[in-house]
Symmetry: C2
Subunit: 345 residues, 2 copies
DNA sequence: ATTGGGATTGGGAGCGTCCCCATGCGCGAC
DNA sequence: GTCGCGCATGGGGACGCTCCCAATCCCAAT
């Protein structure tokens, strides 16, 4: 069925020009007689010629492909991220190939091999747990690389993160201003920098206000763990009057426990603040006050950064932290003077 | 920084063999002296040689890449699908490149060009609205292609779908057996075959039982639309005692309206059944009875089908429909003798 | 009319790999 | 001891394109 691939030679012959001329028409490297351009284009269209990117890659050294390494996609956040990435990079003529790494480092090692074999022009490492050895390996390969939403101590690697510290601090200050005194934090995962930073922001805000955290518990970003810990917290002598939860996903579980199991009213009895502004956060069922991850800006910064590194591989690494935004809804008591935000842009 | 790429020539020279021999070692096409194999492997490892897939593609005509075309990824369903696809295909030595098509057909036309230029070995068209002309174009290109979760009238194209008709019928029969008489359906989108099939399953079950549908409303798979329509339904003279909603996403919104706005109890006052078994469906907040999309089997079937078409492009197209499974939870009244399912596999 | 210069053009090599083919080598059989 | 036979090996040519460079052409200027 597959009519044999049409090549520049076929087009050249049919258009009465040389093969390099056809090539020039499609790569617009140097000028070609406008009349010929038109003729070549017409013939090409008629024959159904489409430039073979593989051949172009081989001798140009650019594959026009970007590899993006992800751990999971079940979480909607990364799906959205991937989609936006892809669109941003497609616009620049790149296509995006995905590589999934379970969090085992063997996987990741194999994936780096794949990335190298596939000759990608650039790599986005999104939220995977990675060893320094790994980052070193990628760097040594010389392929431009940006870490997305994943902190790393290595100073030589570019990265884009949300300002988790500030976000945690902001959320906590909001609770404090609203008059809460017994504030607990259901934290992320102590091995994930974003969780740690949110926690540190929480602790910093508490200390500045001269308050003692009622609790600060590692919940591994897992909803069920957060639910268990919430039950425990409310069976103690002194119970919290506010909870700062390290992500929305856990916060939804926490709300469920508070309302359905413990019969508490939110925010009258307990205030809850989450993190991420997941799409469900503004459903009336949850109506969750939360810190929004500035996803579009993060994507944008990452894509831009990666593309400039591809354009000039010698440029210094860069680290960008993008501030979050507190989205005020109904799950946390409001400090005087603050009003609810209505529309979600 | 980027040490120049190590090629088979470099390895050959360092190992004291010819370039073709190195090639043979890595493509294990014909036999090579075991001693040399080992030496070449050792040298390659030391030099950090990795076969260049681009060069291999150019020469062999196989890119070992699969293109998957998606409309959206915000919906968790496709994120999961993409991940599973990628894993299944990686296992067979393919990498997966994603292409996003908004639902405009211009987009899609451009994407086909990209797919052709990128020389993908196979295409998965996942849930995008596509014209017959488009499918024709893909077919004419000779690239193997499978439609995933998207029906199409064209008999010559392979596809894998969930059995939406049976699923809709099953859900409806469940409601009927539980004694409901005033059943309404909040449908998907009349231009999407999966929505239409679910609706037809609903109508078939009703007819078989000799019942008149109380309503059957196109909600475009949009949560907010479903919420509006729910309000309307319950402001009529005769109100439903059961709702079959065309996907979980809408069902969550419907539950919200029923409980929070209308003060109804589920399932005592109204039964609700959804479709998809989204991860949130088993949260206690929703506890939604729903029809599970048999995603793993669908992925599996699609990957297998695509790979066999790649292996033998002349093989006939195939259509597979995979039956769904009713997951019984607490949002719908239970017929006598039916018990709740507990574990989610 | 001749020449110089810029714009176009075609020839040819090469990107890294795999495949076809011919060579060479070793070993068993006569 | 010589002749095959077969397997391992290397040479050379593709794959489709881009790039370099030399050749050509046209036109203006001398």
């Amino acid at each position: 069925m597959a009519a044999d691939r049409v090549t520049t030679y076929d087009v050249a012959k049919a258009a009465g020009v040389s093969q390099p001329t056809v090539s020039r028409v499609f790569s617009r490297s140097t000028s070609v007689d406008p009349a010929k351009v038109e003729r070549v284009r017409a013939v090409a269209r008629e024959l159904g010629y489409i430039p073979n990117l593989v051949a172009r890659s081989l001798n140009s050294g650019h594959s026009f492909r970007i590899g993006i390494v992800l751990a999971y996609l079940k979480n909607g956040f990364f799906g959205e991220a991937l989609q936006d990435f892809s669109k941003a990079l497609n616009k620049q003529g790149y296509s995006v190939t995905v590589y999934f790494a379970g969090n085992s480092s063997d996987d990741i090692d194999g994936i780096i091999d794949d990335l190298l074999a596939d000759q990608v022009d650039g790599i986005v490492l999104a939220s995977i747990s990675l060893s320094n050895a790994l980052v070193t390996r990628v760097r040594k390969s010389g392929i431009p690389c940006v870490l997305f939403n994943r902190g790393q101590s290595d100073p030589d690697v570019s990265m884009v993160t949300a300002s988790n510290f500030m976000g945690g601090k902001q959320a906590t200050e909001f609770l404090i201003k609203a008059g809460h005194m017994r504030i607990a934090h259901l934290a992320g995962w102590r091995k994930a920098l974003n969780g740690v930073d949110r926690r540190d922001g929480f602790l910093a805000a508490m200390e500045e206000a001269g308050l003692e955290p009622l609790a600060c518990i590692d919940c591994h970003f897992r909803r069920t763990v957060a639910m268990v810990e919430t039950r425990k917290l409310f069976h103690q002598k002194v119970v919290p009057d506010a909870l700062f939860v390290a992500n929305d996903h856990m916060a939804f579980g926490v709300l469920e426990v508070l309302r359905e199991e413990l019969g508490l009213r939110v925010p009258q009895d307990v205030s809850v603040i989450g993190y991420d502004d997941a799409p469900m956060a503004d459903w009336k069922t949850f109506d969750l006050t939360t810190v929004r991850q500035p996803l579009p800006q993060m994507i944008d910064a990452t894509a831009t950064m990666l593309l400039s590194e591809i354009a000039d591989p010698s440029r210094a690494s860069e680290k960008i932290e993008i501030p979050g935004e507190l989205i005020v809804r109904g799950s946390a008591r409001m400090p005087a003077g603050v009003t609810r935000m209505t529309a979600k842009p």
